[in-house]
Each structure stands twice: as C-alpha cells, then as structure tokens.
Symmetry: C2
Subunit: 187 residues, 2 copies
C-alpha cells in the first residue's frame, strides 16, 4: 500500500508519528503530583503495559495483537489534551479526549484510521475480554511502578493511592494473582 501512496499521505503518517512521539515527553501526571524524581513518560508506561499485554495474552490465550494495539493506542489523545489524572476525567474532558483521538487518527489512511478508532472505542467500553484485560493490566503496570518509586524514594508520601486505585479496578482472578505478587515483592 505504501508503494502507491502519494506524498501528502506519507507526510501525514510522519505527522502521526511525530504526534505519537510527544508521549515520550509528557510525564505521567500522577507521579509529578506526588513529587517523584524524574518520573516516567507516558510512552515509558505504555511500553511496559504493551509488554504485559503480550505476556498475558500469550499465557491466557487471548487476542494478543488486539490487546497490544489497544495498549499502544490508548494514550494517544494525551498528545493533545495532556495526561489527565482520574479526578480530572469529567464528562467534558472525556469528550475532548474523544475529539483528540479522532484528530490524531485522521492523519492515517482511512482503513487504519477506522480500525484503530474501533479498537479505541472497544477499549473505552471495557466490555470484551481483551478490553477488560488491557485496562486492568494498565493498572497493574501503574501499581508496580508505584512500588518501584516507593523503593527508590522511601520518604515519598501518597503512593499508596495508586495501589488502592489498581486494587479497585483489578477484578480478573488471573490479574489479581499478579497484583498480589506485586504487593508481596518488596516485603
């Protein structure tokens, strides 16, 4: 398909990649809020979430490609609206996120745009097995990162709420087993 593509379409793909690249420079706002030294970028978080999706889908025989695509795509709206904390995700902010996702994906050829938008909507609805797993694995990644920051900066306060937030979201028995192992691992 790239062979037949004209320059404006190719340039738009590069623009899309430039947009995605912004996630390397956006710091995860939750960690900034509690005062973590050199907090990770959104892209850092997405990387390990994608690794988790790969491992989990392979262990549990789920659709790995769908899950990893959801993981790679799910934070793209942040390239426009920034990284919102859960308390900032009101109705209006969610609408803005939705519009931002459509804007970012509009840079891609039609077929991909539609495919990725569908995946993102599926992720947001949290209904299919894969969408549920990605959401919970994303929280597991956050909980593990909270533990790691706690170990690196023992004087830091306020990290426990990230663990509590993960605890509420992680309902899958399989993912809870991993979550318990995260909680135990620094004892």
């Amino acid at each position: 398909m790239l062979e037949q593509m004209r320059k404006p379409e190719l340039d738009n793909i590069i623009k899309f990649l430039r947009m995605s690249g912004r996630l390397k420079r956006i710091l995860r706002s939750g960690w900034v809020e509690v005062g973590v030294d050199c907090p990770e970028s959104v892209a850092d978080h997405t990387f390990r979430t994608a690794v988790l999706c790969m491992i989990f889908s392979d262990l549990e025989d789920l659709d790995g490609l769908k899950m990893i695509r959801m993981a790679l795509l799910h934070d793209l709206p942040e390239t426009i609206v920034g990284d919102l904390t859960p308390s900032e995700k009101t109705g209006e902010a969610l609408e803005k996120e939705d519009a931002a996702m459509k804007q970012v994906l509009s840079l891609l050829p039609k077929g991909l745009r539609q495919r990725y938008l569908k995946l993102w909507l599926e992720y947001g609805e949290h209904k299919t097995k894969e969408a549920k797993a990605v959401r919970q694995l994303e929280k597991l990644e956050m909980a593990l990162q909270a533990r790691e920051y706690e170990e690196a900066q023992p004087s830091l306060r306020g990290l426990e709420r990230f663990i509590e937030s993960a605890d509420k979201v992680i309902t899958s028995p399989e993912i809870r087993k991993l979550f318990c192992s995260v909680l135990d691992s620094d004892r």
Copy 2:
C-alpha cells in the same frame, strides 16, 4: 495458565517486568553522546518503534503480532548490558547480549521463554520479511528522533550521523518512502 501458577513462577513474572522497567531509566546512549537535553529512554524509543511496526504491518499486510513482539523484546538485553552504540557492538559484546537475553527470558514460563527467544533470534538474523522490516523501522524511528532533536536544539552537532546510519540500513522501497518523508519534513 496463570490460574494454576504457583507463587515462585508468579514472582518471576514480576521480576521480568521489573527488569523490563529498567528500560524506562536507561537513556539512549547515542543521544547522550552528542549532548541532547533530556534524551529519551530506551523504552520511549521502543514505544514508537512498536507503533511504527503496528502501522507498517497493517499497511503492508505483514505479521503484525510477530513484528510488535520483536520490537518489544529486542532491547531487553540492555537491562543487563546497557545501551551499546553500534561501534561498541563487537563480537564479545554481542555474546554478552545473547547471554543477557537468555537470563532475562529465563524468568518467564518455559513456553513463553522459548517463543520469545526464537523471535529474538529471528530478529537478529535479519532474514525474514518481518525481521528485516523491524530492523529498518527501528532505524527510521531513530532518524525521525534525530530530526526532532535537531529542530529542538538547532545548535547541536553530530546528529547527521544517525540519519546516515539509517540511510545505510533502510533498503526496503516502502520504508525508504517514509524515510524520504522524514528527511523532507523539516525543510
């Protein structure tokens, strides 16, 4: 599979995730060498390489899951040996990388360990369509990042060699079209 897993195996998966998480803190040595301000982490680079693999495999009808897995796995040895520049990748260093990969993957259940090692070896041989594409897309990602750093820090010297290095490796006509668009995009 996780349901039947015992604690030591679960703990090893978490250890594997902790190892992967080191890539968030390892800065890409090439950028450090030329003096980029706040250079990206290896995980940042892997994130956008994985996004590129997703888009390219969808456009060119390649095995996307294989390509994204290769992208997510390919830098894991760096969690032990650090990020080596191409000039540091001598025979001995490559052997150390190989041993490091086996050590990291040994934390995963046998089936996954074997599957991921096979993919990593396939990537290293650069023979299959997917392995060739991932390697060239990784260089494309680097070239785009070099351009972005050039734009952000116009006084920086030495970034051109990353573009030249990508130019040598990118032989696929389809990926070259994207590469040309990267080169044009800041003119």
